[in-house]
C-alpha cells in the first residue's frame, strides 16, 4: 500500500496526515492501520504522565536531547485537553520542544483529547504504531494525566514515567488513583522547591508498603529528582540519568522476559479499544440515526425504565442482529 511505503520510508507528512485521519476517524485510515499493524513492535514506547504544570514537556524536551546524543530517533505524541465548552484546544506542548524542529531525527505531533468515549486511547495507540513504522527508535507519549483514559494510554507503553512536583497538593491523590501500579520510574520534578524531601519520603514509604508482587521481575520504581530547569547543566545531567534509567528499564523487560507481558497488556488494551469502537460506535450511531435514542433517553429521565435494562436489551438485539 502506497501510504505504508511512504511511512516506512520516513515520510513525515504522510505520517502526520495519517494521524490526522485517525483522529478524525476516517474509515480509510483504519484500513491503513491494518496494513501497518504487522510492521510494528520495534520502538521503545515511553509514557509520561503527571498533572498539568508538572513540567512534562520540559522534561520531554530534555530527554529528546539525551536520546539524540545516543543516536536514537525520537517521536513525541503530546496530548492536551480539548475544551469541553468550545471543542477547541490549545496544544501547548510543542512550544517547549520547538528547538528540535529542524532535527530530522525528531518528530513531534500534538494531539487533543477531543473529549469523550475513550476515543483518545485509540487515536494515540494508532499514532504510536505510525511512529513505530516510521522508524522512530523511541516514542514518547506525553499525556495530561488526569483520568482513566490516560491510564489506558499509558498501558500502550513499555516504560511509564510518573512526574510529580512538590507543593502541588495532588501528589497523594495521583498515587491513590492507581498510578503506583503503572509507574516504572517516578520523577520528582522542580525538586528544588519546598516539600521535595517530604514527597520523596512519602513515595518511598508507599513503595515500601507495596507487596513484592507489585514489582514485575523485581523492578522497584526508582525515585529520580530533577532540580531547577533554568540551571542548564544540572538539569541536563539529571535528565541523562533518567534516560539511562529508561534504557535500563527496557533492558530489564527484555532480560527478565517481561516484555512479553507488557506486549500482552498492550494487546489487551488495543483489543478492548478496537472492539469497543467497533461495537459501541455503530450501535450508538444506529440508535441516534433511527431516532430510538431520544425515546430511550426520555424514558430513562422519567424513570420509566432503568439504563441497565435498556443496555441489556440493546445488547441482546445487537447480538441477534436485529437492532
Amino acid at each position: 500500500m502506497e501510504i505504508t511505503k511512504k511511512i516506512q520510508g520516513g515520510d513525515i507528512r504522510a505520517a502526520s496526515r495519517l494521524i490526522r485521519n485517525l483522529e478524525d476517524r476516517i474509515p480509510e485510515a483504519k484500513t491503513t492501520i491494518k496494513h501497518l499493524f504487522p510492521l510494528t513492535g520495534r520502538a521503545h514506547v515511553i509514557g509520561i504522565t503527571g498533572s498539568p504544570g508538572a513540567g512534562k514537556s520540559t522534561l520531554t524536551d530534555g530527554l529528546i536531547d539525551c536520546f539524540r546524543k545516543k543516536g536514537k530517533t525520537v517521536g513525541v505524541l503530546a496530548v492536551d485537553p480539548t475544551s469541553p465548552f468550545t471543542g477547541g484546544a490549545i496544544l501547548g506542548d510543542r512550544i517547549r520542544m520547538q528547538r528540535h524542529a529542524e532535527d530530522p531525527g525528531v518528530f513531534v505531533r500534538s494531539l487533543a483529547t477531543r473529549g469523550a468515549l475513550g476515543g483518545l486511547a485509540k487515536a494515540v495507540g494508532d499514532a504510536i504504531h505510525v511512529m513505530d513504522v516510521l522508524g522512530k527508535d523511541i516514542v514518547i507519549v506525553e499525556t495530561v494525566g488526569t483520568g482513566q483514559q490516560e491510564v489506558d494510554i499509558i498501558n500502550h507503553s513499555h516504560t511509564v514515567l510518573v512526574v510529580l512536583v512538590p507543593g502541588m497538593g495532588d501528589e497523594i491523590q495521583a498515587i491513590k488513583a492507581g498510578i503506583l501500579e503503572i509507574a516504572d520510574i517516578f520523577v520528582v520534578n522542580k525538586a528544588d522547591r519546598e516539600g521535595s524531601s517530604k514527597l520523596s519520603r512519602e513515595l518511598m514509604a508507599m513503595l515500601d508498603m507495596a507487596p513484592p508482587s507489585a514489582f514485575q521481575g523485581g523492578w522497584r520504581p526508582p525515585i529520580m529528582k530533577v532540580e531547577n530547569a533554568f540551571e542548564p547543566t544540572g538539569f541536563q545531567s539529571a535528565l541523562e540519568g533518567i534516560s539511562d534509567k529508561i534504557d535500563e528499564h527496557y533492558k530489564h523487560l527484555v532480560d527478565k522476559d517481561i516484555i512479553g507481558s507488557r506486549m500482552r497488556r498492550k494487546a489487551v488494551v488495543e483489543l478492548n479499544e478496537a472492539i469497543r469502537a467497533s461495537i459501541l460506535e455503530p450501535v450508538l450511531l444506529k440508535l441516534l440515526g433511527s431516532g430510538q435514542m431520544e425515546g430511550l433517553i426520555e424514558k430513562v429521565m422519567k424513570k420509566e425504565i432503568d439504563p441497565y435494562t435498556v443496555a441489556e436489551d440493546i445488547a441482546k438485539r445487537y447480538l441477534e442482529g436485529c437492532l
Partner: protein, 562 residues
Amino acid sequence: MYFAKEVLESSSKMRKRWEDEVKKLVSKWADQKPEAQWSTVSDLPIKRLYTPDDIKDMEFERDISYPGQYPYTRGNQVTGYRGKYWTFRMFSGMGDAATTNARWHMLLKEGQTGLSTAFDFPTLMGYDTDSPKARGECGKCGVAIDTLEDFLVLTKGVPLDKITTSMTINPPATALWAMYCAAAEIQGIPLSKIGGTIQNDMLKEFIAQKTLMCPPEPSVKLISDTVEFGTLHVPRWNTISISGYHIREAGSTAVQELAFTLRDGMEYVEDVLRRKKLDVDTFAPRLSFFFNSHIDFFEEICKMRAARRIWAKAMTERYKSKDERSWWMRFHTQTAGCSLTAQQPYNNVVRTATEALAAVLGGTQSLHTNSLDEVWCLPSDFAVQIALRTQQLIAEETGAANTIDPLAGSYFVEALTNEMEKQAWEYIHKIDDMGGMVAAIEKGFPQLEISDAAYKFQRQIDSGEKIMVGVNKYVSTEKESIPFLEIDDKIENEQIERLQAVRRKRDGKAAVKCLNDLKAACKKGENVMPYCIEAVKALCSVQEICDVYREVYGEYRDPGLY
C-alpha cells in the same frame, strides 16, 4: 482623621440627598451603560461621585505630605517643573547609525532635551547583522549597532558630558554601555561626568518583552555587575530602568503594571544586597523606573502617585534605607503604544496628548511621546515633530507645569491612588509568598496574569464593552492614508559590509584575547564591565560578547506559558 467630624456629618446628609435624586432619575432614564462598565480601561470600578467619605481615613502627613517629603506621593522634587521641565526624551533609532545620528540632531535642534536609543532586533537580541538569525531585521525597528565604530557614528557630534542618553537594551546592556563609556573616553570625557540610563531590566523580559538570552540567575548577576560598576565609577548613570511599560503593552492591567514593576525593583535591590554586599544607599539612588502612560487619564496619574508611595515604603521598611535619595522613585514615561490605532491615525495625536498630560500630572521625570504613525512603521520626521511639540505645548501653554501635583486633595484622585496602592501590595505580597519574582516567573504567574488580562481586554473590544474610537465606534469607511517611513532593505548589506570591514581591519589577536579575558571573568564571577570595555575598544562585536555569555551561562529556554 482627615476631615473634621462636622464635615463628614454634613457630607453624609448631602450625599443621601444626592443619592435619592440619582435613584429617581436613573429609574426614569437609565445610564448609558451598566454600572460595572463605568470603570477604568483596566476594569477598576469607578464611582459616579467621590466625596470626603472616600478619603476619610487618610492622614495628611502619612499619606499625602509634601513634595520631597516621605512618602513622596506629591513628587520627589521640591521645585517641581518650575525648576526643570521633565526631560523631553524621544525614543528613536532607525536604519544605520548615520541615519539615526541625523534624526538625533534633528530632534535636539527641535528642542528635545535628552536622548533615547532604539536599537534594531539583532542588536537587542545580541546578534550581529550578518548572523543568519538577523536576516531581514537590520535597522527595521531601531538602529543597527554591531561594533564601537557604529556607535561612534551614532554619537557623532553629541556632547556626552552635556546630554544624558537612555539606551533601551537588555541582555546585551553590558556591551552597549561599554561602547558608550568607550565613546566618552574617546571624546575625552571621564566616566564620572557621563549621565544616562540603560534599561537593563531582565526580569520584565521574562515576564513580557521577551528579548531573551541567558537564564534568570546569570541575567540578574550581569545586572548586579552594572549596578556595582556604576556605583563605583559612573555615579551619574542609572544602571537599571525597572520597567512596567512593556508589561502593560503585553496586556496587563494598570495595577499589575504597578505591582510587577515595583516588585521587580525589590528583587534587584535584594539581589545586589545579597550578591555584592553593597550598602543599599550606595546604589539605590541610581535605580530608576519606566512606566507606561495609557489612555485612562486618572488611572495613570494615580498609578504614578501610588508608585512613589509604594517604593518609599519598600525602601524604608523592607531595606532600612537611610538616605532619602534612595526613597525617590524617579521614572521615565512613554505614552502607550498599544492604545494607538491603525484606523484614523490622526486620532493618535489626541491619544498621545492626553497620555502625555497624564504623565506630567503624575510627575514624570522624563517623557517620550509616540508618533501618530507608529502603528504602521517607524515615525516619520513629520509625525515625530508633532509628538515632540505635544510635550513642548503641554509644558509651555497648558499651565500643567505651573504647580506641583495639582490633583492632590481631589477626593477621586486620592481615593483611586489609595485603591491602586492597596491592590498592588496584594500582588506584591503574593509574589513574596511565592518566593520572590524569579520564583514567580518560574511558576509562570506574572506571564499568565498578563495573558488573561490581554485576552479579557480583546474580548471587551470585540464585544463593544470597551470602545476604541475609529475601531469599534465612529468607524469610517474611507481609508485615511498617511505618509509612511520606509527603511530601505539594502542597508542590511551595507551594514554587513561595514561589519566585515571592521573585522578585517582590527587586531584579531587582541580581540580574541579580550573575549577570552571576558570569558574567564564570567567563570570566576568577576565584574564583567571592565572586560567589556576593553573588548569593545578592541572592536569586538555585540554578538561576540554575547556569545561569551551564552557559552558560559547557557541559553534561556522559554517555558512557553500562554
